[in-house]
């Protein structure tokens, strides 16, 4: 039994950043990288199932990203799991979620997992598309925004909780194999022990190119679900700084609080 | 220009979601000066209850 967990190295923009020469993204010199927060939860969910199954379940983290994205895999492996997979090709720079889904589908075809757990979204681009697109590409059933999982190795179905608007929870079951997108708060992600961090350095990470997966850059480009025209700093993007004397600021804050509460 | 604007609205526990009406508004705004029509799709077993709720000015079908 196997759970494949796609994880992502996300980009965070620095203050007073500059755009890339083509205006279609931030200049990489102003981007810091970190692990996507949602993936901590999806990986933890997989580890919990692995530990409860006592040796029957393998957890494999996979990422689509350049060399330094290996960090996010090592970060996972420090918590558990024995090996990771990294797929990269320069043609994947600026890939849309549809393209990433096609790549991951090939990885799934090779690895034959019983379940795939992705984060609900990644916080740099916030598409919330990859997991469900992957399921569509595979023709697998899928459930998004999962906040509870009940599944043991061999179960033909998983019983899940989904978090809906207004705090309502829906309980659903899904036939396996399936793709689940995991929501924040489903569990309490662990921290890797220092020993785990050390051991993770020795764990194997398979590196696959597009060719290894039988894909070409041209094919993926043709399947792009959109094209970026430009990026820009929105006028409303920065915080509204509330000016005036303390009493005036408080009056404005009170109005904002009432409005936000009323609108919700 | 061809092709209509299709809006897929959603409902839960017998109620149309408030976001559905916002999405219809987005469609009306997008329609703007184009000659496109707007169709709203309700996916439900008994859609009749929702039809009245989504019958808004500017919606064609």
């Amino acid at each position: 039994m196997k759970i494949l967990v796609p994880v992502k190295q996300i980009s965070v923009v620095d203050e007073d950043f500059e755009l890339r020469a083509d205006g279609k993204d931030v200049d990489p010199d102003y981007l810091d990288t970190e692990a996507n927060e949602w993936d901590d939860y999806s990986y933890e969910a997989a580890l919990e199932i692995m530990e409860a199954a006592d040796g029957d379940v393998e957890v494999v983290p996979v990422t689509v990203g350049p060399d330094d994205a290996e960090d996010v895999l090592r970060r996972c492996l420090a918590k558990g799991g024995d090996r990771g997979i990294r797929v990269w090709d320069d043609d994947l720079v600026d890939a849309t979620p549809a393209a990433i889904a096609k790549v991951l589908a090939k990885v799934v075809a090779k690895e034959q997992p019983d379940l795939v757990f992705t984060g609900t979204l990644s916080s740099d681009r916030s598409f919330a598309q990859t997991g469900v697109s992957l399921a569509a590409e595979l023709g697998w059933p899928h459930v998004a925004v999962v906040t509870g999982i009940d599944w043991k190795p061999g179960d033909p179905k998983a019983t899940l909780k989904r978090e809906l608007e207004g705090g309502l929870i829906e309980e659903v079951s899904v036939e396996c194999p399936a793709v689940l997108t995991i929501q924040l708060g489903i569990n309490t992600p662990r921290y890797a022990s220092l020993r785990g961090v050390k051991q993770a350095k020795e764990k194997p990470v398979q590196e696959w190119s597009l060719a290894d997966l039988g894909l070409t850059g041209a094919e993926l480009a043709a399947g792009a679900s959109f094209r970026v025209r430009r990026m820009y700093k929105p006028e409303t993007g920065r915080a509204e700084l509330i000016e005036g004397t303390t009493a005036e600021q408080a009056a404005r804050l009170a109005a904002i609080i009432n409005e936000l509460r009323g609108a919700a | 220009m061809t092709g209509e604007i299709l809006v897929a609205v959603e409902h839960r526990q017998g109620a149309l979601s408030p976001a559905s009406l916002e999405t219809i508004a987005a469609a009306i705004e997008l329609k703007g000066d184009t000659d496109r029509s707007i169709a709203v799709a309700v996916i439900a077993e008994k859609p009749d209850d929702f039809v009245a709720q989504v019958s808004k000015a500017g919606v064609d079908e």
Partner: protein, 255 residues
């Protein structure tokens, strides 16, 4: 076929069949939990263009152009969909004003295709209303940080949170000092405020650990005397000022 509740397989098949029959230029969905669960699949299976969480959409010449926010809302990204006959867009909520005026469109029925749903609705569970404070379930929060200074001062922010009807939270140092229970701590090793809609951060500078638990909140209001505090980088509204004076003044508006 029972579609009383959301089933991705059934919804996908229905929209795909409609799209096949009508060849729409655009399919708009609300950007909601249900559409997260099927709109991208519709696009993928139909070979459509797709953009999610769209905040603006227009025609520029003949091209459909959608705008969405990226990098924690710090930038906007404008996208188009060359050579796509149909484009799936999910529209962010609370951006467009709901249409009020009624009309009388034509109504036609379209038989949804027979689909074997591979998910099954079991039940809905209403959120629990417990007496205990569970900040991960709170929608409106007021949190205090190091700027609060001493334990006695925490009380007045509890009082303020009460009068606002907000749940009181705190950053790590406050819980470490034993001034508020650990169950109120927001951030790494504390709680992630997953349901929070409005988060008022008072005297919180915004450590990485704290922000991990709340940076996703759509409306963050930060009050800090240091204009360079990191918390302002994620805030929607910022007040550079004394948290005590602001609290004192705010109280007058909510008692």
């Amino acid at each position: 076929m029972p579609v009383a509740s959301f089933q991705s397989d059934v919804y996908e098949a229905a929209v795909l069949a409609l799209a096949e029959a009508r060849k729409p230029a655009v399919i708009l969905f609300p950007h909601s939990v249900d559409t997260w669960g099927y709109a991208p699949a519709v696009a993928m299976r139909g070979g459509f263009g797709c953009a999610t969480d769209v905040i603006d959409v227009k025609y520029d010449g003949g091209d459909l152009v959608a705008v969405r926010a990226v990098y924690a809302e710090k930038l906007h990204m404008e996208v188009d969909f060359p050579e796509r006959e149909t484009v799936v867009l999910t529209v962010r909520t609370n951006v467009f004003k709901p249409t009020e005026a009624d009309g009388s469109p034509a109504v036609s029925e379209f038989a949804a295709p027979q689909t074997q749903a591979r998910t099954e609705h079991i039940t809905y569970i209403e959120p629990e209303q417990t007496g205990d404070v569970d900040i991960s379930q709170a929608e409106y929060m007021l949190s205090v940080g190091r700027g609060v200074g001493e334990e006695e001062n925490v009380e007045q922010f509890k009082e303020l949170a009460d009068s606002l009807g907000f749940t009181l939270g705190c950053s790590r140092p406050i819980a470490d000092n034993g001034w508020l229970p650990k169950s109120r701590q927001v951030g790494q090793s504390g709680k992630t405020v997953v349901k929070c809609k409005v988060y008022v951060a008072m005297g919180i500078s915004g450590s990485v650990q704290h922000m991990a638990g709340m940076k996703h909140v759509p409306s963050i209001i930060a009050i800090n005397k240091d204009a360079e505090a990191s918390i302002f980088t994620i805030a929607k509204y910022g007040v550079v000022g004394d948290m005590f004076e602001i609290a004192e003044e705010l109280r007058g508006h909510f008692s």
